[in-house]
Amino acid sequence: MNILYFLIACSIFLALIFLAAFFWAVKDGQNDDMQTPAMRMLFDDDKPEDS
């Protein structure tokens, strides 16, 4: 059962990584604008100049 010590350490460490990732995302401003990216992704790529 001593393996549990290791597993608990692992799980907390993993969870901390995710928490850090979330902090990073918030700092980066990912949650500041929830609307525009959803609309932006529907735009087509720029067509090559055809005239």
Binding site: L19, V26, N31, D32, R40, L42, D44, D46
Partner: protein
């Protein structure tokens, strides 16, 4: 404005069976093409502005703009803006976010942003000009962040480019963009994340304890305990910090707010848990602690409902321009508005705002005070007359001499009043009131229990019962039910086009007993107008007038066109339009003139409540058109409905020509005041408040700003929420004015829901206290009771709020 002449083409005008005049829609903005249509690439445009936008976009291969949405543009209002001031280094530095030798970054507020095409176009600005590095749009805030190389494109050219494609940034004295920054509370989101993370881990580690540990697993018990304690640290000292700060601030001001008992409980939970874990006497209440803080923070987050598309803080500065043209020694110079001083000679062009009280020195003044008073008809000013700040000049350029600095003007001096400098008085909410009694009762029970066990000389029981009572009697439900209920009410109002500044405003609304209405723009609507013609006209002459009006984009011309109801029109030659004066042209070999100059050669503005324009055919006076602002629909019913429960008053800045007319629908004719200055309105509210009334003020223009601020609840009534509205507590769309009684009822029901949920929570707490006084509260009971009562309450509040909404016809 450009005068055009030429033969209109009839090919695009369709006739329906019932002979109603219909036409193609403008490819750019969707307005009906009624007049001379402009066509390009086989597409119809309503005006040269829309056409030129299309030309710019098609020449740069950017017609995808029209692919994402039909008619994504907005009607082009031709106005030649003078943007020289953007070249002034001082103003440039004030506007930009960042600048170095190569690149400059600026954030613009662009009111025209409304669809995905707007995003697409603004984010492809670099295709229109190589100098633009990149641009990013924030749709909800209607902002665009643009980075550009200022050696290739100057700030002024950039603004001109954006204006040319129909996205003119709003640049004003009050920086809307900078005030909007950091409106998202990133700190709170991070705290919720930490609390959630710790709660999850603590729950996991506490689980074996709930199920009972076998002797084999005992070795883990102290490890789990210490880990839990470690997780409680950040929750208490980082996430829970603001509860302690708020409680302390409250106590220093000698009052107990809801955060005081909450902070106490967090502290007690943490102390007792640390004590038990350190002395290995028990598992502690770390699961309750982390769960509590997590839920409380969620409640705070729900409370912070933000409307990005609305601003409740604007004052005259967001409406005034940044700079003005000053004439000194015969040469023109742009100058920042703050630097204007008495005696300066300023030049105001068509569509520019008069920034300070000034005397008209040269030119024909025609000021549109619609932002100030809500009155849409421009007011004629003669030479030597004082023109108050806030008017928008319509027509030719005028010269004025400043007689008061900007901040001391008749209108802007309102903001120097004490009402505006006074800090917002935190009104006591139901929560804060109850928190006091709640704390007293809880303490009494806890101390009684502790004393009882001390008498029985069981000191460990005394300590555990004391702490347990405090833990169980947690007012956390109250801290949750209030934000959840009120934000649900806010969401319902939102759907009905009524926007409140914050959740606390709902409680304010529930307390209102007196309503004060402004007249112009609030109970009258600029969109609903009565149009009439006085004079004799035959069908032929009617057609002549309509044919002439068809060539002009002026709103009054559009009204004449609608009134004409003609199926076909005559071509017009020698068409002239003098902004602010009128239009003229040769129609079917007759000279037709429509304008605001009456047969006596005098400009007619005697009646401020209506606009009069005159018609002359071949120099013979034919009569006049009269446009009067109409009342909003359902006004009488609204007043009747309101007068049963509220005291209502009416204040108007206009003269009393409408008095008798209004008295028919207004239930208290003696509570109508006319010719009220902005300061009068404010003092009127103050007087009502000194009689102990809770006053709600409904106004629209800048002249109501003082009254709106002074009142307990200031509501700005507007027909377009994108438009300017003065600082207020709530913004109401004019269409929903008739729902006002229902809104107040809903707010009252919301407060009732909170009170009911408090009763439910109290009964849960009684069960908990029953265990707690005996010193028998197990961590499991606490951990089960808290989420159970929370879920009950949240279900109850959301169901109750929706039930009331249906009852009030607001769903």
């Amino acid at each position: 404005m450009k005068a055009r002449s030429g033969n209109p083409t009839f090919t695009h005008i369709k006739f329906m069976e019932n002979q109603v005049f219909t036409a193609d829609k403008c490819y750019h903005c969707g307005t009906e093409v009624a007049g001379d249509s402009y066509s390009f690439d086989e597409k119809q445009f309503c005006c040269i502005g829309c056409e030129s936008v299309y030309k710019i976009l098609s020449s740069t291969n950017m017609c995808s703009y029209y692919v994402y949405n039909d008619t994504p543009g907005q009607k082009q209002v031709h106005s030649l803006k003078h943007l020289e001031y953007l070249d002034e280094p001082a103003i440039f530095l004030k506007l930009v976010d960042y600048t170095d030798e190569k690149v400059t970054t600026v954030t613009f507020y662009i009111p025209a942003i409304h669809c995905s095409s707007c995003i697409w176009l603004l984010e492809h600005l670099h295709k229109l000009n190589q100098g633009v590095v990149y641009s990013r749009v924030d749709f909800l805030k209607k902002q665009a962040l643009i980075s550009f190389r200022h050696q290739e494109i100057s700030l002024r050219c950039l603004v001109e480019l954006m204006t040319s494609i129909g996205y003119e940034p709003l640049i004003s004295l009050q920086d809307v963009v900078k005030e909007n920054q950091h409106s998202v509370n990133r700190g709170l989101i991070q705290k919720i994340a930490v609390a959630g993370f710790c709660m999850g881990n603590v729950m996991l580690l506490s689980f074996p304890e709930y199920l009972g540990l076998s002797s084999f697993e005992q070795q883990f018990q102290s490890l789990f305990g210490w880990l839990n304690l470690a997780f409680s640290f950040p929750v208490t000292f980082y996430c829970g910090r603001e509860f302690f700060v708020s409680a302390w601030t409250g106590l220093r001001h000698k009052r107990i707010n809801l955060d005081a008992p909450l902070a106490l409980i967090i502290a007690v939970l943490f102390l007792r848990s640390s004590f038990e874990i350190i002395t290995s006497t028990g598992p502690g209440f770390t699961d309750t602690l982390t769960g509590l803080v997590f839920l409380l923070l969620c409640g705070r987050w729900v409370k912070q409902r933000a409307y990005y598309h609305l601003s409740f803080k604007r004052d005259y500065r967001s409406y005034f321009p940044v700079a003005v043209t000053v004439i000194r020694g015969g040469s023109e110079k742009t100058m920042a508005i703050e630097e204007l001083s008495i005696g300066d000679r300023i030049l105001i062009r068509n569509n520019e705002i008069i920034p300070a009280d000034a005397i008209l020195m040269k030119g024909n003044g025609l000021a549109d005070f619609s932002f100030v008073t809500g009155e849409s008809a421009p007011v004629q000013k003669v030479l030597g007359e004082i023109v108050y700040a806030g008017g928008r000049q319509v027509g030719e350029a005028i010269e004025l001499e400043v007689i008061k600095p900007v901040s001391q003007s008749y209108l802007t001096s309102l903001w120097n009043n004490d009402t505006f400098s006074a800090k917002d008085d935190e009104t006591r909410t139901f929560n804060d009131t109850i928190a006091k009694y709640f704390s007293i009762v809880t303490f009494t029970i806890a101390i009684t229990a502790a004393t009882f066990w001390l008498m029985a000389s069981d000191s460990s029981k005394a300590w555990s019962s004391f702490t347990a009572v405090l833990i169980v009697a947690c007012p956390c439900v109250l801290a949750l039910s209030t934000p959840f209920t009120l934000s649900a009410v806010l969401a319902i109002f939102d759907k009905n086009l009524f926007y409140l500044k914050s959740t606390n405003t709902v409680e304010q609304l529930a307390r209102v007993d007196t309503l004060v209405f402004d007249k112009t723009g609030t109970i009258t609507s600029p969109e609903i107008s009565q149009f009439s013609f006085s004079g004799e006209l035959n069908d032929e002459e009617r057609l002549l007038a309509a044919s002439l009006a068809r060539n002009s984009m002026h709103p009054l011309s559009r009204e004449i066109l609608k009134w004409g109801k003609a199926a076909i029109y005559y071509p017009v030659t020698e068409f002239f339009e003098i902004p602010g004066k009128g239009i003229s042209g040769i129609v079917n070999q007759k000279l037709v003139e429509i304008g605001n100059v009456s047969p006596h050669g005098k400009t007619d503005d005697l009646k401020p409540d209506s606009t009069v324009i005159h018609l002359k055919i071949n120099n013979v006076y034919k009569g006049s058109f009269r446009i009067k602002q109409g009342w909003r629909p359902g006004l009488k019913a609204l007043f009747d409905d309101l007068s049963t429960n509220f005291d209502i008053h009416l204040l108007s800045g206009d003269n009393d020509v409408e008095k008798n007319n209004l008295a028919l629908s207004f239930p208290y004719p003696d509570q109508m005041e006319f010719r009220q200055s902005p300061h009068d309105k404010m003092h009127y509210i103050k007087d009502l408040q000194s009689m102990g009334r809770n006053v709600m003020m409904l106004g629209d223009g800048l002249n109501d700003a003082g009254a709106l601020k002074q009142s307990n609840l200031g509501v700005a009534v507007t027909d377009n929420t994108n438009n300017f509205s003065p600082a207020c507590d709530a913004i109401l769309n004019g269409k929903s004015l008739s729902r006002l009684p229902a809104f107040v009822k809903q707010a009252k029901d919301g407060v009732k829901t909170i009170k009911l949920s408090f009763m439910i929570a109290a009964s849960y707490n009684l069960i908990g206290v029953y265990f707690a006084v005996q010193g028998e509260l197990s961590p499991l009971t606490a951990a089960v009771l808290m989420p159970l009562s929370t879920i009950t309450i949240l279900t109850f509040t959301s169901v109750a709020t929706r039930y009331y909404a249906i009852k009030n016809n607001l769903s």
